[in-house]
Amino acid sequence: MFERKPLLGFAGDTLASALLANGLTLAGRSFKYHRPRGFLAAGVEEPNALFTLGEGGRTTPNVAATTTELYEGLVARRQNAWPSVDFDLGAAISLLAPLLPAGFYYKTFMGPRRGSWMWYEPFIRRAAGLGRARHERDPDRYETRHAYTDVLVIGGGPAGLAAARAAAAAGAAVALVEQDSALGGMLLAAPATGALEDWRTELERAVRAMPNVEVLLRTTACGVYDGNTVALLERHDHERPDAGLGKAREVAVTMHARAIIYATGAAERPLVFGDNDRPGIMLASAAQAYLNRYAVDPGRRALVATNNDGAWRSAIDLAVAGIAVPILDQRQHVEPALQDAARRVGIDVRTGALVTRAQGRRAVTGALVAHNGSARVEHLACDLLCMSGGWSPTVHLTSHTGRKPVYRDDIGAFVPGGYAPGQFGAGAVSGEFALSAALRSAAEAGRAAAHYCGHADPIGPTPPPQVADHPFTLEPPRACPRGAGGKAFVDFQNDVTTRDLALAHEEGYAAIEHLKRYTTLGMGTDQGKTSNLNAIHLMAALRGVGIAEAGTTTFRPPYTPVSIGALAGRSIGHHFRPIRRSPLHDCHIANGAAMIDAGPWLRPWYYRWAGGDAAAAYVNEMRLVRSAVGLADISSLGKIDVQWPDAAEFLNRVYVNGFASLPAGKARYGVMLNDDASVLDDGTTARFGEYRYFMTTTTAQAAEVMSWLEFLLQTAWIDLDVQVVSVTDEWAGMSIAGPRARAALALALPEIDAADAALPHMGAREFEVDGVPIRVLRLSFSGELAYELYVPAGYAIALWERLLERAAALGIRPYGLEALASLRIEKGHVAGLELDHRNTLDDLGLGKMAARDKAYVGRELRARAQLQAPGRWSLVGLECLEPSARLRGGAILFARGEALAGHGRGYVTSVTWSTELGKYIALGLYQGGLRHAGEEIVCAYPLKNEQVRARIVSPMFIDPNGERLHV
């Protein structure tokens, strides 16, 4: 469907060829001036013919019709015009063109007041942008994968085919990628019958028949990255992708190649003359492709304008097809053989002839032609103007790893400025524009690449092609004479004209990068594939410098635009990042838990037995723990098995407090610092045997701590004999807490002797129950009598269920993260919001823990003056003094009566309703800390216009002497 009208095309057609076959030459409107535009090219370099494809969530703006394969059901619309491309009101903007030269916006829209740009900007934004995207979710499927090969050949033209064949013949595994739907490259534009086509078919057949060659069509090499890693995009739109069936629309392939052969060919450039953008003006090679490959007459009455030999081939094909063709070559001298060949097919040959301006508006109707050495301007009528300003090797990919291309005068273009190790060039990309030379370079590249991969011996030479070809010559493009009139476009998509170049030069934006940025030249969806070199030529001329000095802009990936969906692949929705689930996950769901993200983990936030939302539930869960007994999942804690003779010494070094003397059967709380003395983590380590320790870390820091310990052991302390192994996934953990915890244990697990004598506070013991090892640590985060139980993860659910079932009479129930966090606030234990890397050990009130008589990581830098300064913010407890108000995390603290401005004297880190105290309480940091205990302060929360009075108290809100731990 094209603009709601059905359109017929043939298999193998592109949207562009089908539209041309249907007589449609007006493809769209230009970006800035809304000028009517047609089809300039037949491939990826197309700047004009951008369409919006698809409907609903499949709407895809800005797709070049020249690369869109036709398939049944394709829906396409033209864009950037209102009400329609045929009648576009935006075109009125053309009248204002003189007021809108390149970069005009830098010079205006500044008044009348400061900030006025905000008034103008919406208009500019609406005018800019090409197609319109939709906010709906994309229903299609995308995938990513990794691939490995010896030799990656990029480009399936004659050079690519020949190179692949040579490399494969030498024994290398070869992957050949071609963005097009067919192999053959430039040869596809040659006449569909004849010796050349026979030769191409045979070469293709031979390559495809080789078992060690994999051919990937519709696959674009988008970017070349370090390590000969190439990003490929495989497209399947023509196969009707269907997410329901798992059929992907696009696949992004990370290709790891040993060697790369660039056989990316060359692209033709336009000529620059007045109104060179009229529909019906196209690249000579494009006209040839439409004619030969797609069997479409791009016009009936053609003119071919050129400065090089290349376009003569196109002219001859057009003439043979019966399309009248005068050829206008700006060169005075053209190879006589070429002239003869042209004349033989009835071409009206004119040398020294320069097109200065095109005629016609919505379609080209003719051209004005100037002749060398004469003032006469001739008018020639045409409905197709083919132009060729020379050929630019497709050096994009070779430049991606930082090798700047270099200029070659003889071909008037840039070629790769060398290749990274293991990379080779073949064919037109390396400046070999004659087929025979291209093939020679390809065979050589193929052999060299295979050799680089360790395959030495070619099996046999590639048969030389039996094709006639001409050496390639060209005359550098000439700027069209001033005063010829019309707009001479250099960059079609971004509407950059020769006047804009002149303006940029005049204002000093003459460096090629400034030119680009000032005029936006080459910044469109085509990335200037047809415009960059002309611009460089023209600017070099304006500056009076050589082209090599003018230089190119930087080529960046992707070579052609890539769907972001393809890059994301399957890492979308809940697969965006993997989810880590506790071994108890299924129980939580069964127990009616509401789950919450905690880093990669999903953890039970609260349980519905306790209330319908977190606010209601957590207080009931707290009450349960304070009054009876609760069961919580702590499996997400990091767990590390630490073994061997030097383990004690090791722990003694990484923790600020002493671990050397920790006896077997005991656990100890410890804090680790980074080298810079910021707090890395806290947790407990239990000693189970002479040389066996069991360390726990916080959930958030588990991976960091593990790597850090390995770093120290493997890089710095290699003399220590210590082994650390992560056992986070091996052991599930649960905490059973509350005054009835021991009773509950006794009911559920009579095998475990949890009597105070056997398992005192901070005791740690291993038991075996029904053949299953259970580690029991008598530790408390909540301040109640509590035990941490660790069990091999496969038995976690069984243990959990046994605890809940057998201790049911004691009222045991599960409690979640919110209650866990709240209970510890009542006890003044620091956690995530306090441990934010900015706070020191001393700030957290833990300074006393640090041993004075031993070294530990971070000790030296902990002593720095500012870290010990008296006015630092340190941990305090806060109780809310207003019965009707609540404290809020993130509130800023001020002394009473002080102006509420600036950064205050501290802030609230964690808040909870205290079931014990019947009010809101909080932890916070406050300047001077507990020296201000008892003072009333203000917690300001201007985001909600709130101020709440609170009192500074000890952060140990309940049971400061820890009596409950010892029941």
């Binding site: 990255y225 370090d226 390590g227 000969n228 890693t229 790891h256 040993r258 930082g402 990274a420 190790p421 293991g422 360790g454 070094r653 080298d675 810079d676 790597s707 390995e710 770093f711 052991l713 493997q714 890089t715 710095a716 302390w717 290699i718 070294a855 990581v857 030296e860 830098l861 002593a863 720095r864």
Partner: protein, 99 residues
């Protein structure tokens, strides 16, 4: 730079001495490996400051730590050129001696 053990110049493919050449995404970067960590217990704040905070940060040859976190978990010392990303040899950090 020297070529890696696989004979490839292996830019940003890291030759893990244990596992072989792998994508750099399997590794965790650990920064400059030419700095010498003051021995544990060194009571010289200046030395620690330099170690922790100051870097040569050269444009060119760089010795650096990488840990093969998705593989053998070994910390490696890798030669890499920060001007080109070209990767050279790697050795296990705990096997002393320069690469």
């Amino acid at each position: 730079m020297a070529t890696g053990p696989t004979g490839n110049d292996g830019m940003l493919r890291i030759p893990c001495p244990h596992c072989g050449e792998r994508d750099y995404t399997e590794f965790r970067y650990g920064g400059d490996a030419s700095k010498i960590r003051p021995p544990h217990g060194t009571a010289d704040a200046r030395a620690w400051q330099e170690y922790v905070f100051l870097f040569d940060n050269p444009k060119g040859a760089h010795l650096e730590y990488w840990q093969h976190v998705l593989g053998c978990r070994q910390w490696l010392v890798l030669e890499r050129d920060t001007a080109t990303n070209a990767v050279g040899k790697a050795h296990l950090a705990r096997s002393q001696g320069s690469p």
